[in-house]
């Protein structure tokens, strides 16, 4: 089978795109369909966005039913649940735990994509390949923490981790700290670095957990969820992208 489009990276943009194109395959490296928001926790601030499409309304209704937007905040940790519900309802079937190994172009212009899944190696053929994952510039790590004295915690943390910033994180008493991370760290060593610094200082706050993946800035031209703070907006951008191609 030859797909019209292979989307590398699931998420809201990719899903929006897939709603417009019948013969689309979505592959996702991780075991979640939303790795951008749920696994990096880029922001808990809700940027109001009114959906402009029926599909966007449908997705927004799911978010509303789960109460994921509230008083200027969004429950980013739970976006995976919302996107999963939408994918199941709309019978869109991304392939999870699917790693792209190699992309080659045949003489006929069809892309031959070697992937690795839970089943082993396989080949996906597609006329077009669209990456919705992007190289992150200036990577950050998001730490969710609990504090009863936020002003004091914030002051301590901002001096402990220069160039970082904090925000409220949806639930009462929960906050997020976004820490810039040097390039030489991977996710595991970055966590060690953060915990070590945190424990060495007297921070009036406890770490709840750290987002498993780095977040950060992507270029403005990138087809990536990380360009957006609102998932519905990312979703409808995907729709727009697909419609413009028709």
């Amino acid at each position: 089978m030859i797909y019209d489009t292979l989307l590398i990276g699931c998420g809201f943009l990719a899903t929006g795109y897939a709603t417009q194109k019948k013969n689309t395959c979505i592959v996702e490296e991780h075991q979640m369909c939303d790795s951008a928001f749920t696994l990096t926790l880029p922001s808990f601030q809700y940027t109001p966005y009114a959906p402009k499409t029926a599909e966007g309304e449908c997705l927004f209704a799911i978010f509303r039913s789960l109460s994921l937007f509230s008083e200027g905040q969004q429950n980013t940790s739970a976006f995976e649940c919302a996107l999963s519900k939408y994918l199941i309802e709309k019978e869109i079937r991304p392939i999870l735990k699917c790693r792209v190994i190699e992309i080659t172009e045949r003489e006929d212009g069809i892309f031959k994509v070697l992937v690795q899944t839970n089943g082993g190696l396989d080949t996906i053929l597609a006329k077009k390949v669209l990456h919705t994952t992007s190289r992150v510039k200036k990577k950050h790590m998001t730490v969710l923490f609990v504090s009863e004295d936020y002003p004091s915690a914030k002051s301590t943390l901002l001096s402990l981790f220069p160039d970082s910033y904090t925000e409220s994180a949806f639930y009462d008493g929960r906050y997020a700290l976004h820490i810039p991370i040097a390039n030489e760290y991977d996710e595991n060593t970055a966590k060690v670095y953060i915990y070590k610094k945190w424990n060495e200082a007297t921070v009036p706050a406890k770490i709840l957990y750290i987002a498993p993946l780095f977040c950060g800035v992507v270029s403005e031209e990138a087809f990536s969820d990380l360009r957006f703070t609102n998932p519905i907006e990312a979703f409808e951008y995907g729709i727009t992208l697909a419609k413009e191609e028709k």
Binding site: Q31, R93, R99, I101, N118, N188
Partner: protein
């Protein structure tokens, strides 16, 4: 040299000459989960040069990435204890177990300290072999492929992803139908200031089918949105909680019957420690021996140290290649018992020691000096898990006290200060004479199993039959019939039939959860012993009006079966055992299976039996489980 890979479901081999290995080591561990981390670490500390690969960005396997943060059984002892001690145990915040991320930190520090070379975002595409010897792997690090050569390659992927790239004879799931135990996606939430991690128990799937894996994972993530109502939503596990994967033919094997009959294993790598549980409630389709122990004798919370021989980690005939973690050479029932976090840590640690020894001596794993090996792992505290050989009952002090009193004995004085709900683990003995008095009680399982295990089955049958004939209470008589039935004695049939005719939701009380219903036990035994005379009664159980009986709607509030409120466990047990028993009788008497399938299709045609079991919707786990069962009986 050959290069093998799994491509489109088939094992592909090609000649590979002049392979340049970009990296080389003594021990290459693939998979930085519970077993892989401690294997790599101990091998390094014992002097081997070690590389550890992990496909994801984060290490820690199901413990750190799957939210399985608590310890459920597993033996105590070994290196992991040091990491536990370092981990802050926040009693206010974390309900159960240590904070998984702090633990992940300490595992990372451990690897850094020991000098293991860790490569994350790195997966294995194929293997290099010279005959039956694995020489190394071709890996992909996210940007490029690289070849890594090793004296020993360890498949610590949990699911045998490297084993599948060899000619090893592999097996998937349960013998009867190939199904795996249910998987889970663990979610975490905070409620009343306490961080809680819980299962979603999401049904069964073949996770080697990438479409099925993806669909069911996304479905369980969608269903996990219910956690948002429980409290402050924290996260879902990064890893899907697959509990069971393939097993293979090894140089040795761990079998369920060997565990139950306490076979002495040779060259034991370490002792796991667990109950012999198997997730899911689909007991009617399990193998007979499992049903004997778990269902009919109701011994689901009996625990036992399990010797895992070194040979069970080596695919038969292979060299330079072993597995670590829950993928080993065993049957499906023993696999359920050899996957606890602590046992995985200890297995890995012991294996690392053994591999370092093998590398140093230039031999295969089975040729290392076993006495020296034992000394090393025992000094580390990783070998035996802290429990002497034998069976143990893991339950509350009150249950233990009740059992002692039934046996006319006093509880051990060391428990004198225990509260009724305090947890005790006490040794069990399966002596017929000692345990027969338990047949008078609502916890007769140890007696039933003792009778079954007795060498002189004929003599015990006569004894139990005479007790049945003279029994002065209905409870006693019924328990004798069950014990007699398990011995295969058809003289039990009239009383078993009576139990079913008088059916109720009475359950035995040995265990702190998963206690089995007496009616379902009797139905199961009738399937084995009964004749065609039992069929009218059994088909009566499948009539729609059966659900109107009070027994299906009066389950005692203290009954615990994983606390699932969306399934009528009584009806599910009766329905499934009835169908299984009818099939057995048909088969034994040479009756037409086509006729039976037609009958089942007629009975189940409108789906009402599904609604008797559960009020959940299509796509949800319980609904899918019962639908799948009904489909299987209509199409076997």
């Amino acid at each position: 040299m050959q290069y093998t890979r799994l491509y489109q479901g088939s094992l592909c081999k090609e000649e590979a000459s002049s392979v340049h290995f970009d990296l080389r080591c003594d021990v290459l561990v693939v998979g930085a989960g519970c077993a892989g981390i401690y294997c790599a670490d101990s091998a390094k500390r014992e002097g081997a040069d070690v590389i550890l690969l992990e496909i994801g960005e984060n290490i820690g396997g199901m413990f750190a990435c799957g939210n399985v943060t608590g310890y459920y059984y597993g033996g105590e002892g070994g290196a992991y204890l040091f990491d536990d001690e370092k981990t802050e145990r926040d009693h206010i915040f974390v309900r159960n177990g240590s904070h998984w991320e702090q633990r992940q930190i300490h595992m990372t520090e451990r690897l850094t300290e020991s000098g293991v070379r860790l490569l994350t975002s790195c997966s294995v595409l194929g293997l290099y072999l010279d005959g039956c010897r694995v020489l190394g792997v071709r890996a992909f690090d996210g940007k490029k492929t690289l070849n890594i050569g090793a004296t020993f390659t360890v498949d610590a992927t949990s699911d045998g992803h490297l084993v599948r790239m060899t000619d090893a004879k592999i097996r998937y799931g349960r013998e009867s139908d190939g199904r795996f135990v249910p998987f889970t996606v663990r979610g975490q939430y905070v409620s009343d200031g306490v961080l809680t991690s819980c299962n979603t128990d999401s049904g069964t799937m073949n996770h080697y089918d990438s479409d099925a894996f993806s669909y069911y994972t996304i479905l369980s993530h969608a269903n996990a949105s219910s956690l948002l109502k429980k409290g402050e939503f924290v996260n879902l596990g990064l890893h899907t909680g697959v509990r069971e994967g393939l097993t293979y033919e090894g140089e040795d094997c761990v079998r369920y019957e060997d565990i139950l009959y306490e076979k002495e294993q040779q060259r034991v790598l370490f002792y796991a420690y667990s109950d012999l549980d198997r997730h899911g409630a689909d007991r009617a389709s399990e193998a007979e021996l499992f049903q004997n122990f778990w269902v009919i004798s109701n011994l689901s919370t009996v625990t036992i140290p399990i010797g895992v021989p070194m040979g069970a980690l080596i695919p038969k005939g292979m060299e330079g290649f072993v597995t670590a973690g829950r993928c080993l050479s065993c049957d499906t029932y023993s696999q359920s018992a050899i996957r606890m976090n602590r046992d995985m840590f200890r297995m890995g640690e012991c294996l690392g020691v053994a591999l370092a020894m093998a590398t140093k001596a230039g031999v295969e794993l089975l040729q290392i000096d076993y006495d020296v090996y034992l000394e090393k792992v025992k000094s580390r505290g990783a070998f035996d898990g802290g429990h002497p050989k034998g069976f143990y009952f893991d339950n509350s002090y009150s249950a233990y006290k009740k059992r002692m009193q039934s046996l006319g004995k006093e509880p051990d004085a060391k428990y004198a200060h225990y509260n009724p709900t305090d947890h005790v683990i006490v040794p069990l003995h399966f002596s017929v004479e000692e345990n027969l008095p338990l047949l008078r009680t609502d916890a007769p399982g140890v007696a039933i199993w003792s009778c079954f295990r007795a060498p002189d089955k004929k003599g015990v049958s006569e004894k139990v039959y005479s007790l049945l004939c003279c029994a002065d209470t209905t409870l006693y008589r019924y328990n004798c019939a069950i014990a007699l039935g398990l011995l295969g004695d058809v003289r039990a049939v009239p009383t078993l039939r009576e139990i079913v005719e008088n059916r109720d939701c009475f359950f035995f009380t040995e265990n702190r959860r998963s206690n089995q219903f007496r009616s379902a036990i009797a139905i199961c035994l009738l399937g084995r012993l009964g004749g065609m005379d039992e069929l009218p009664l059994l088909f009566e159980l499948l009539e729609k009006k059966e659900i109107e009986r009070e027994m299906y709607h009066t389950l005692q509030p203290n009954y615990l079966y994983y606390g699932s409120p969306d399934k009528n466990f009584v009806y599910y047990a009766i329905l499934t055992h009835t169908c299984a028993s009818i099939r057995k009788i048909y088969a034994r008497h040479g009756l037409s299976s086509d006729e039976l399938k037609t009958k089942f299709k007629r009975i189940f045609h409108d789906g009402s039996h599904i609604s008797f079991v559960t009020n959940t919707a299509p796509g949800e786990n319980v609904y899918e489980a019962i639908t799948s069962f009904i489909r299987s009986v209509c199409t076997f």
